[in-house]
């Protein structure tokens, strides 16, 4: 390297020049940044690092090693990118990439993972939490149990039980940590009343927080089978035992009243020999079970297929109807002789400017069967079930979507029509083409070249047009024979939402499996359609 710069050779002047340029560029970069820019950069990195260190500290305390490692690696990479000379592209990409990787790429992978679990109502925690919850839910107050002297103390906003047991020993604990003995408590009579580092809670505060305090259960020891303390009044506590007892070695739950033994059969819940499950359970990987259910269970496969078919029909018909109306209007109003075109144009695009979710809600009111404007005022009291009949609901959805979507198509078609050179039209006229032929053979193909990508984008948007469906018909009318909460006008995305988030029975695993199925469908369509557009562009 050095030799070549010292002996500039006739054959390599370009290399030397570019090297010099590079060096000059570096110097310029260095000189131009200035002190302020450097300080801003260091300041921002300091903020990022401070947040990261704080997060790492908390994660370390919680011993959450996976997230700890992730935060550590991301922070290290960010620092590397911004302190190392070079890596210029990454300096510009890094901020967006971090968000993209976590909230778009990672969550897709996470969706795939959840689709292989039984995550959902009754199965949304770890096994440890499930054991504690089960034992607590079956607690009863031990008859004739001794009374524990109790003082509620507070530390960092959390309530603790300061307990004096019948033998006079003092211990402290809260909902998360079982009782541990303490020796330095301040006594009043034979009851501990305060402990250094904690604030004793007075009577008015106990009354103010009585619901929270009455709901507290503090375990006597690490073993949940030993029982827990609860208080009805905030001044004395009683021992509660559970009718369920957990045998850690055998990994079974025993009902001490009936003697039934519930075993962990790998399905994420303790199950009796008869197959009876006690819930809550915990989430476990169940393999492809969700997918198998989706495709074999008759009460789910039927709705899934019909919803998929309607999703395609809806997306295609939405694009077709809005495009045809938009194109028709674009042609009608693309006549130079016509007056007041601007006036019409502004008024016609108003529905597009109106927020979409509000549009759907307003139409839901207007199409209401008993009180809506369409039935009552327009049709003179007819009781047409616009939104509650299967086929009328589908029609209404397409109609409202036409209202919402035609202005967009009108705008882009007008733009595309105007960009077609007039010479082509004149040349065609000279050759004796009639207006229809001019449109069909010349304008339309040219228009399609520029509009086709937008039509595909519109299809993709409508394929997941959640707001319209959910706000207008809520997917209804509901399909009573289906095993899941799904209706006749539901599309795939609204079905996912309803399975995951509506009603008491939430099934995140099944919903994620549906999501992955949509992913696959959309991916296949995209690949095919992008190829098609390439072909269309080649036409030009």
């Amino acid at each position: 390297m050095q030799t070549s710069t010292q002996n500039p050779n006739e054959s390599t002047p370009k290399v030397v020049e570019s090297k010099r340029q590079k060096r000059a560029g570096r110097i310029a970069d260095h000189a131009s940044g200035g002190v302020t820019a450097l300080l801003v950069k260091i300041g921002m990195l300091a903020v990022v690092d401070a947040i990261a260190v704080y997060a790492l500290f908390i994660l370390f305390l919680r011993q959450d090693w996976v997230i700890f490692a992730v935060v550590l690696v991301i922070t290290a990479l960010v620092n590397l990118v911004y302190f190392k000379r070079g890596l210029l592209p990454l300096k510009y990409l890094a901020p967006g990439l971090v968000f993209l990787l976590i909230f778009q790429v990672f969550v897709i992978g996470y969706t795939a993972y959840i689709s292989f679990t039984n995550y959902g109502t009754g199965h949304n925690s770890t096994k440890e939490d499930a054991v504690t919850a089960l034992i607590q839910s079956a607690q009863y107050r031990v008859p004739d149990s001794p009374t524990y002297g109790l003082t509620i103390v507070e530390q960092g906003g959390a309530f603790n039980f300061l307990v004096t047991d019948p033998d006079g020993d003092v211990s402290i604990g809260n909902t998360e940590t079982p009782l541990t003995e303490v020796s330095n408590a301040e006594m009043s009579g034979d009851k501990a009343v305060s402990l250094s580092g904690y604030n004793s809670v007075d009577f008015t505060d106990i009354v103010a927080n009585q619901d929270a305090i009455a709901a507290m259960t503090v375990q006597i020891s690490d073993d949940p089978n030993d029982g827990a303390l609860r208080t009805p009044d905030g001044s004395s506590a009683y021992l509660y035992l559970s009718t369920l007892s957990f045998d850690e070695a055998a990994d079974t739950m025993t009902n001490t009243e009936t003697g039934v033994v519930y075993a962990d059969t790998g399905n994420g819940a303790f199950t009796s020999p008869d197959g009876e499950e006690i819930l809550p359970g915990w989430s476990v990987v169940v393999g492809a079970e969700n997918y198998v259910t989706a495709f074999t269970d008759e009460s789910i496969r039927g709705p899934l297929l019909s919803v998929t078919a309607w999703t395609f029909a809806f997306a295609l018909l939405s694009v077709a109807t809005t495009f045809i109306l938009g194109l028709f209007l674009a042609i009608v109003f693309n006549d130079m002789r016509m007056r007041g075109r601007k006036f019409y144009r502004v008024l016609m695009i108003l529905p597009y400017a109106f927020p979409g979710f509000l549009g759907a809600l307003v139409w839901a009111g207007m199409l209401n069967k008993d009180f809506g404007f369409v039935n009552v005022a327009l049709l003179g009291g007819a009781e047409i079930p616009w939104l509650t009949n299967e086929w009328l609901a589908k029609f209404s959805i397409l109609f409202v979507n036409l209202w919402l979507g035609f202005p967009y198509m009108f705008l882009v078609c007008t733009g595309a029509l105007q960009s077609i050179p007039d010479e082509l039209q004149e040349a065609a006229k000279m050759d004796g083409a009639n207006p229809w032929q001019v449109f069909r053979r010349i304008k339309f193909p040219l228009l399609l070249v520029s509009i086709a990508p937008l039509l595909i984008a519109s299809f993709a948007f409508n394929f997941n047009n959640f707001n319209l469906i959910y706000m207008l018909t809520n997917g209804g009318p509901r399909d009573a024979s289906a095993g899941i909460n799904v209706g006749a006008s539901d599309i795939l995305i609204s079905m996912v939402y309803k399975v995951a988030f509506s009603g008491a029975d939430r099934d995140y695993g099944l919903a994620s499996a549906f999501s992955i199925i949509i992913f696959l469908i959309v991916a296949i369509i995209s690949i095919v359609s992008f190829r098609q557009t390439k072909a269309l562009e080649d036409l030009n």
């Binding site: 592209p89 976590i102 959840i114 002789r337």
Partner: protein, 306 residues
């Protein structure tokens, strides 16, 4: 010139001939008159629902049935009710929507512009791959992963409450996950139209890459920044799926979530108040949209065609 003169004369004679011809209704109708009929029909179709909401919002008897008499009685009672109902804090929703929408818009514009500058001006290994993978990731919209987002935020919220459910900062960060993507493509196309000789001239004058970006490029691409910002704002305002899952407490919710619950709870009796809320929510968005519509349409078509 020699070819254009006869054409010019020709049109002139045609125009004078048309002026001399007597006005005939049937001919006028066949040429442009029917277009006005179509226009009037379409205006009724487009504008009527909007007039209906406006009338319902001004009707003091706020039920759905009574809203059918258009502009039969006028009053601002619904607007007053809207801001005095403590269970349905409309004012808070409005502010939340503005804050979340604006923050997301600014963040999206900034992150997208950084990436677009990088892809447009720098040549590096993996550039094509990067552009392509941005396109591919967009195939999977965020709302499909809503279950995973919900569970991720539940887990994160246990550790850092600020990133958990019912927190607006968490919601904004989720939205920013979608910042690179379509927006980057729109901006990338526009950045490419700014001649790179400008950058080179600035470089010769001693400006570094950061200075070129912040003081030269960002100013030249201001129109596309406005368009992307507005599109992002509209998308955020319209989002129901993610915000309804993340935001739980009424005071923290956005307009889309709040207004939906407004009508879904007591559909027919709350109608007037809902209509008032809808009118107030729509006015700023519609005003901005109509003001910037030329840029939006050109931006949409340009990004897709390129």
């Amino acid at each position: 010139m020699s070819t254009s003169t006869p054409v010019l004369q020709h049109t002139r004679t045609a125009a004078s001939a048309a002026a001399k011809r007597p006005f005939r209704l049937s001919r006028w109708f066949r040429a442009t008159g029917w277009r006005h009929l179509v226009g009037i029909a379409m205006i009724v179709f487009s504008v009527f629902p909007l007039l209906y909401v406006l009338s319902a919002s001004l009707n003091p008897n706020g039920t759905l049935l009574q809203s059918n008499g258009l502009f039969s009685s006028l009053g601002f009672d619904n607007y007053v009710t809207l801001f005095t109902n403590s269970q349905r804090p409309y004012g808070a929703w409005f502010i939340n929507t503005l804050v979340i929408g604006l923050t997301t818009a600014v963040g999206t514009v900034f992150l997208g512009a950084l990436a677009a500058y990088c892809f447009s001006r720098m040549r590096f290994a993996g550039r094509r791959f990067g552009l392509l993978s941005l396109l591919i990731v967009q195939i999977f919209p965020q709302l499909l992963a809503v279950v995973a987002i919900f569970l991720l935020l539940t887990t994160l919220g246990d550790i850092f409450p600020i990133l958990g459910l019912d927190n607006q900062i968490a919601l904004i960060m989720v939205y920013l996950g979608g910042a690179l993507g379509v927006n980057t493509y729109l901006m990338y196309g526009f950045f490419n139209t700014v001649p790179s000789s400008l950058d080179e001239a600035a470089k010769l004058d001693g400006a570094g890459h950061a200075r070129i970006f912040f003081t030269i490029i960002l100013r030249l691409v201001a129109p596309i920044l406005a368009v992307v910002g507005l599109l992002s704002f509209i998308a955020t305002t319209n989002d129901f799926v993610i915000s309804s899952v993340v935001l739980v407490t009424p005071e923290r919710q956005t307009l889309a979530v709040g207004l939906y619950q407004f009508v879904s709870d007591e559909f027919t009796t709350n109608w007037g108040v809902f209509a008032a809320g809808a009118v107030l929510a729509a006015i700023p968005v519609m005003a901005l949209f109509l003001y910037l519509q030329k840029y939006i349409v050109s931006g949409l078509t340009a990004g897709a065609v390129k």
